[in-house]
Every structure is written in C-alpha cells, then in structure tokens.
Subunit: 341 residues, 2 copies
Amino acid sequence: MATLRLALDAMGGDNGPSVVIEALQRAHRQFADVQFIVVGQDAVLQPLLTSAGLDNSPRITLHHAEQVVEMTDKPGYSLRAKPQSSMRIALDLVADKQADACISAGNTGALMTNAYFALKTLPGVLRPALMSAIPNRQGGHAFLLDLGANPVCDSDTLFQFGVMGSVAAQHVLKLEQPRVALLNMGSEDIKGNDVVKAAAQLLQQSPHVNYIGFIEGDDLFADRADVIVCDGFVGNIALKSCEGLAELLMHNMRQSISSHWTSRLFVKLFQRQLQKSWDWLKPDHYNGASLIGLRGVVIKSHGDANSDAFFSAIGQAITAATQGLPNLIKDKVETVLLEQQ
Amino acid sequence: MATLRLALDAMGGDNGPSVVIEALQRAHRQFADVQFIVVGQDAVLQPLLTSAGLDNSPRITLHHAEQVVEMTDKPGYSLRAKPQSSMRIALDLVADKQADACISAGNTGALMTNAYFALKTLPGVLRPALMSAIPNRQGGHAFLLDLGANPVCDSDTLFQFGVMGSVAAQHVLKLEQPRVALLNMGSEDIKGNDVVKAAAQLLQQSPHVNYIGFIEGDDLFADRADVIVCDGFVGNIALKSCEGLAELLMHNMRQSISSHWTSRLFVKLFQRQLQKSWDWLKPDHYNGASLIGLRGVVIKSHGDANSDAFFSAIGQAITAATQGLPNLIKDKVETVLLEQQ
C-alpha cells in the first residue's frame, strides 16, 4: 500500500505543542514509512521542529493553521468561528484524502463536532462513538464505547455500537468472535431501562454479533467481555469515576509516604511498579480514544496527555488506518442493515 | 425519648445469619439502650443466639418468619409469593410502629420493592432513593444517590433527591449548608442530557438547597460536594465500576506479591494500611445504604458484607432513627412543594 499519511493537530491539549513534537520525534524514528503532516501555527511549531532536529525531514510537512481551538471553546462555537483551526484543518485533510488519519489531544466536544461535520458518518451509521481500550486482569483489553460522544442513545444506536465495536475488536484486538456485552445495573434480563433492554434484544437476534448479555460495572476490568457498550453519559461517568478513585488512592498513598519511613523505602523499591499501576488506573490517559463510525480515522489523545500518550495515540491511528477500519465497519453495517430490511 | 427498637432481617445476605448475629453481639454490647428484634427462622436463629450468649437478653426478641427471600428472587416474586419472609416482616414491624428502623443485607431489588410496598413514600415524595456515603480525600464523606432504586428518573425526581440528600447531610453529616451537585458528563451548563439540565434549573432556583452545579465522575471522591445526585442507573454503574477497578488493583497487587520477595515484605509491614485502603476502595461494602423518602428508616447492608459492615449498618440505622430522618425529610419536602405551588 502507499505510504501512510498522518495529520497531527499540534495545537491541542493542555500541555501544548511541545508534547506533540516530542511524540512526533519518537514516531518519526519508529515508523520509518509514515508521512507526518504537522498542523498548527508556523511561528510556534517551526522553532520546536528545528530544536527537535525534525525540520529537514522529507517525511514531515508543516501545514499552517491560523486558529486554535481552546479547551474552553464550546463545540458549536469552535465549528462556526474557527474554520481555520489546526483541529479542523487536520480533519479536513482526512476528508480530502490528503491524510489517512487525524490525531488530536484537543477539546473532546469540539473534536467530535468538527469530525462529525468534516467527515460525516459512514452510510447507515446513526451516530459516531468514542471508544477506548480498557485493561483487564488477564493483561488483555476490552473496548468500551461510547465514552461521551452521545449523552443519549436509542436502542438502535446502542446496537450499532455493538456491531462497530465488534468489527474493531476483530481487527485491532485480533479476536475471531469478540464477546459483546451491554453495561447495565444488573445482569438479569429484567434489569435496567427500556433502551438497554431493547438493545439487548437486537443484539441477541443478530447473527453478526457474539452477544453475551448484560455485565455490571464491577465486571468492567474482569475479562468478561471484549466489547462493552453503553451510552456516552454512562461510559463517561464509569471511566471518570475510576479516575476519581485512582486519584483518591494516589492521594492516600502520598499521605502515607510522608508519614512512614517504611513506605518511603517501599516507594523507592517499587517506583516502576507504581508508575505502571498508575498508568493502568487512568486507562484513557494512557490509551487514545477512537472516534468510530466516521468516514475516516480520528484518534483523540487525552487533553492532559504526556508525549508517551500522544505517541501511543499515533500508534493507534497507524493500526486503524492500516487496517482500513472505517471501510471494514462500513461493510459490516451495510450487511446488518440489508438483513434487517 | 423511648428506647429505640431495631428490626434485623437475620436471613438476608450471601453470608447467612451468622454474620448478623455476630454484628448483633457487638451492637448489643455497644448500644445499651437499644432493643433488637431479630427476624427469621426460629430453628436457625435460636442456636446461633444461644451460642453467642444472647438468648437471655431482655433487649433481644426473636420474631419468627417462615419464609426467606433468596438473593436470586425477582423483586415482584418476593413481594407476591413471600409475605411471610424475614425481610417483609422486619419492614412490616417498622410500618406498624413496632420498630423504629429495619436493617437487611438481603436482595437489594426485593428490599426496595417490599419497602416501597410496606412503608410507602412520604407525602409528596415521588420515589424513594438508595443513598450511601462515599469517602473523600479530606477524610470526610459525601452522600451519593440514587444507587439503583430508580433506573430512570425525571428532573423532578432528581430535584427531590437533591432536597432529601441535603436534609440527610445536614443532620447525619452535621453540615449547615451541604453542597449539592448533579453528577454529569461535563461541568459546563451545556453538557449532559435534558433531564440533568432541567434538574439543574430546579435546584438552582430553590432557596432550600445549596446547589453548586455539575460535577464529573473524577470529582466523586474529591470533596467537591456533600451530596451528589444522579439516577440509579448511573449511580449503580459509577460505584460498581470503582469496585471493578479496586478488584483489578487487588489482583495486580496479589500478582506482584507472589513474584517479589520485597513486596511480600511490604505487605507484612503494611497489612493494616492495606486493609484500610481496601475498605475505602469498596465504600458500599463498608457503609450501608439508606433507602430514603419512605415513611420509616430502612438500611441496606451489602449482600456479601461481613459482620463489621452489618454492625456499621446498625449504627447508621440508630443515627437515622434517633434523628427522625423521615420526618425531617417530610417537613422539608412539604415546604418545597408548598413554595412551588
């Protein structure tokens, strides 16, 4: 296949362009056959590229974008008032087939709105979904979606999330028959609200999805399912609550560190292990989230991500673009829709 | 005031009656002016009371109940088919003013349905809510509700949960002006679904609630609010997801323990500290949940609770009954409703 071309929104994220350029430096070294289009303000990015020794690479192009979407911008405002933002231009490059994927650490709401506008959903897809890989106790991962693109979902939309997540798990997690579950407040059929119950029926009836039933929050990390489906309100709160608990634990650990010499010793001994756990505790910080169901690959890196996280998001974008994930999803959704008619 | 009388459903919970009797033994010693009505099967409970040395106490009455609600019983079935269950009779004792509070570790759905039927909601209260205290990083607590009594809530119901939670926080957590927040997928006004947005307006307009706005999942344990309101679907999944993360961490810790001698040493040194963190990690295991909005005090201890947790639930029941929490809620809800007319 032709060389892969990635558009990086270099102005997004709480930590500014330097994180993006740092990640680019590593990705440029590691992925020798990938072209990078760095989108953002020339005056800011040129010096960073120069000091990173990247200004003369034939695989890096700087694409100027005058405007910047701020983390505080409302999605609608970013769409109307900032057509020349680095985020929007990076997405437009994908829409115009000048890039194969876009990666941004910018404002999530703005990215979803701009991506939806610039790329459109795949034929037959009702809504795009934000999906991320969460770790499980067997050392593997499960895809959780939606994480906040859709505060309210009907049962058809949840059903489609199951179909799309299943395609992604087949090709990205390399699973033949990914186990698809709905996140619910109980595992029995009678539990939950009408929307999840109706979605369960649709998934149950589909020959294209290996639906295993409802799972509860305490099974999120238990390797019970490979694809876990919920609406964006629930998914956002489930993941962020875990972040909150992780922060509480780290706070408690710091308190105990300052009070006991034995724990100071322990921390010395286990610093690497602790860091690893910490990364696990905040899975969405470590892994980028994919915006799936669109006519192109869009990966969202966490707003306060460091360069490791942005680098990991670049890797995800390369996997999804190499697989041609949007086309695989399109084919499956078409098959499912034809059968339902 | 007259002696407090507590009805204990002695047959509920995964761990059976022995956990309840163990907790009773401690509560009987600690709360010297409380009467305990132990409800369940004579043949099972009498020997346990005898071996615990409690069979001759004038403050303990054994109240026979033929039937037992199983953890797998559906709520409607438990209501129709088991009118002589220990759970139902314990609730009836509260309804008939023969007891001031009921404590059960039984099937949550069945307890909610039976309590709703036996006790009814307070005048003006739309729905009862399941509420629990979660820890925060300042060493304090916040009340989180609803935890699963109501999979779907309208904005009026969420508003009432804010009012009821605020009254509980005033009297139980001893706060003059508890900070009330709505759990949402973003902190800006435009975030979330129509129900939380409408509930926010109602709370904002009420002079009876110190409403501080939306908070996100990562602020659950951050001491941002004293009362955190959501529907039962979201609350259940938020808390259970935290449980799931806690289990993942414990699993990882056990793995690391078996592989490094240094961590085995660490665990020896920190066993108490670890246990404390573990209790924190599963707040609903440690703290009982109150079913509020009913014409009586009902405390739910976790199904797989140990005797410490059941003892803690007894303490909560005593606090709520001594305060007369149902009447305090009734007065406040009446005031609010009159003002809305």
